[in-house]
Symmetry: C2
Subunit: 419 residues, 2 copies
């Protein structure tokens, strides 16, 4: 028997008890609770901003980089964004209102596959305090209790947000322990969280590769991996020139810091010889640093040579690796070797190549003639997302409310026994 601290055992038990109640709530009761959370957050905006300023001061003292401080910062507008996010979740269909299938088997048993919550979801995340509100809302709507463990740099903000959400819940039928934030960011406690299999049903890490690997390697609780995106755009010989140029520019530059932006352009040799320079010019002008293979360097002036590491790297910045290939097969092999199985796209006019690409590429989202930037729960029509899964078990790609549920079989008989 593993030793857990009293604090964590207490937290775990409270979450488990809350999850039992959450599982039995009606859609209306949950929506009322979400509205109470949203209103309370709205009312508490000033307090939250004060708490956030403490975090920002500490961050500056510690010399945190400006982009990270920017991500950490809360203002009225961003808090309103969280409030609207919670209200949006309230408006989504209840994922538990569904029986996926129901049938009668040979023994006359009526067997139904009914959606149920996962139970208690642990979220371990970095930096952005809005995750505290977003993840709490999605978990609650899907009937789950949440235990949140944010980064130390956002601890005051996260606690203030959770406090506001709990104040909202205390006016409803939902126990306030449906949402709990670890008040200490000591690793001792997050390590316990990863091992409390009696109280935590699923862990979702959200953050950089380091965080996700650490959770994967240490957790005994099943993990849903929301990993990084080393995404590829493949411009095939028959591609429409303007379409290819537009998609390339969009997929690399529209928001380079996110996981569905591309990191590598793969391009057929024939079209590269004519168009590669034209394709890359607007990117260069937008400040993108190009790192190409030997052939790319022959075709385009003033670029760096790509190393093996460049093809593996998720830059999340205005850097693009380029690989010129002899044709479809080499393109597919490059993707199979370097991709993190997030999002990949082909631009082509060739019907068969389009079909083959959709079949052959083993990624969560595979595109023909569209930007990879669309891999997103909201854009897909799920109303929101808890993250984008790059694993194959349970959920893959953008995870909406359904990804936070499981199912059980309910079997109704009239005295059947097994012969």
């Amino acid at each position: 028997m593993e030793e857990f601290s009293q604090e964590m055992l207490h937290l775990g038990k409270k979450a488990k008890d809350a999850s039992r109640i959450l599982a039995t709530l009606t859609t209306k009761e949950k929506n009322v609770a979400l509205e109470a959370m949203a209103s309370s957050l709205e009312l508490d905006a000033e307090n939250i901003i004060k708490a956030n300023q403490k975090d920002i001061e500490t961050a500056r003292e510690k010399g945190l980089a400006e982009p990270l401080i920017e991500r950490l910062t809360l203002n009225k507008e961003r808090i309103q964004g969280m409030v609207n996010g919670i209200r949006k979740v309230a408006s989504l269909p209840d994922p538990l209102s569904v029986t996926d299938e129901e049938w009668v088997n040979d023994n006359g048993l009526r067997i139904g596959r009914r959606r149920v919550p996962l139970g208690v979801i642990g979220i371990i995340y970095e930096s952005r305090p809005n995750v505290t509100a977003d993840a709490s809302a999605l978990s609650l709507k899907s009937g789950n209790a949440t235990i949140l463990r944010g980064g130390s740099e956002a601890i005051n903000s996260n606690l203030a947000i959770a406090q506001a959400l709990q104040t909202g819940l205390s006016k409803t039928h939902v126990p306030k322990e449906a949402i709990q934030v670890l008040s200490s960011t000591d690793r001792k406690y997050s390590n316990e969280l990863m091992r409390m299999t009696d109280y935590v049903d699923t862990l979702i890490p959200r953050g950089g590769q380091g965080l996700i690997q650490a959770v994967k390697n240490n957790s005994l609780v099943p993990v849903i991996e929301t990993a990084s995106g080393n995404s590829h755009l493949y411009i095939e010989n028959t591609a429409d020139i303007k379409m290819a140029a537009d998609i390339l520019f969009n997929a690399k530059t529209q928001r380079p810091s996110v996981c569905n932006a591309i990191e590598t352009l793969i391009i057929d040799e024939q079209i590269a010889e004519i168009e590669l320079e034209n394709f890359l010019q607007p990117l260069k002008e937008a400040g993108v640093e190009i790192r190409g293979d030997r052939k790319t360097k022959e075709l385009v002036q003033d670029i760096l040579e790509a190393t093996e590491e460049d093809y593996h790297e998720e830059f999340l910045a205005l850097i693009l690796a380029v690989k010129v290939v002899k044709g479809y097969k080499e393109a597919i092999e490059h993707i199979a070797k370097y991709s993190t199985h997030h999002s990949e796209a082909i631009v082509t006019k060739d019907y068969q190549k389009a079909q083959d690409f959709l079949n052959d590429v083993d990624s969560a989202a595979v595109y023909v003639n569209a930007s990879t930037r669309f891999t997103d729960g909201e854009v897909f029509g799920f109303g929101g997302e808890i993250g984008i899964s790059t694993q194959k078990l349970h959920a893959r790609g953008p995870m909406g409310l359904e990804a936070l549920t499981s199912y059980k079989y309910v079997i109704q008989g009239k005295g059947q026994i097994r012969e």
Copy 2:
């Protein structure tokens, strides 16, 4: 970077390469391969029995218990059972022939959720050599490559079966590395198998609690837990007496060694006072040892007192724990505390209690007025099963072919970029 042995790296790469080919096969190609596997196994029966006899000799020398030797033993009939099992899998619908959903989003992108294989499935199992054939067939039909690691006591049998299956495959389009058995049962190799996240997509342990816990604790590859069943039957006050007696007898005695047999009877005090002795008499006559709480001992002669451990124990034998409760709430609490979330049943005539039980009990299969013994992929109508999951992620309850698949989003556009 972790160090892996050359043998395991070689095996992993071969499996991964095979999985890429498997993912693109047609249903017909897979069914032809399954038939080739079945025929080859049929032809090789004598060789397999010879190999099995070696295992049995070693087992006897080591003093393995008779029931375990019985489970290990292969004869013509059991081999024919495996052959028929493979043919049955060939006759099942292809789980990859499905697009779960397809819709057009606000951007005009056509988004389809298409079933794909998991990739490479590792199976770590004990004792019964038939798992080698069963798991290989189910994996292949669902487009997955398999790496099998059986117990040391069955190593010769498992290798002979795999050899026969591979011989069958070598006459088809399917690479024989679709099915590989670890030729050494040295733990060093199974530990590597659990950490080869680049080559193995999912691990399914099949066996006792010790094995499953060891895999869960050591694996970096995502695990589907097929855990034990500490299952409960609750006889509620309004239960039909004959139905309750029949279900109790069936659920405990029809095959006590399996996970869907019950271990504990929970019974309301009122009905217990009148009927408990009658309910238990046939079980006693069938050799069932009764271990009851204080109230049970007042009502029934010559039984042992149940300890706290008895309520936690999966006996898998002719032993029944009994708990007399004051009513529904106490029954539900007992199940929540001791159940392994496999299968639980209520016998009742009360409509509301039946509905409440289906809602309140958090197990993979929840029954009203039927024996728990029906929790089985075959009985449910899935045509077979790779195991029964007691976890909530990915798959729960009996796992048929669909549980061995994932999905990907295929997105077809006409040049869309994100604004």
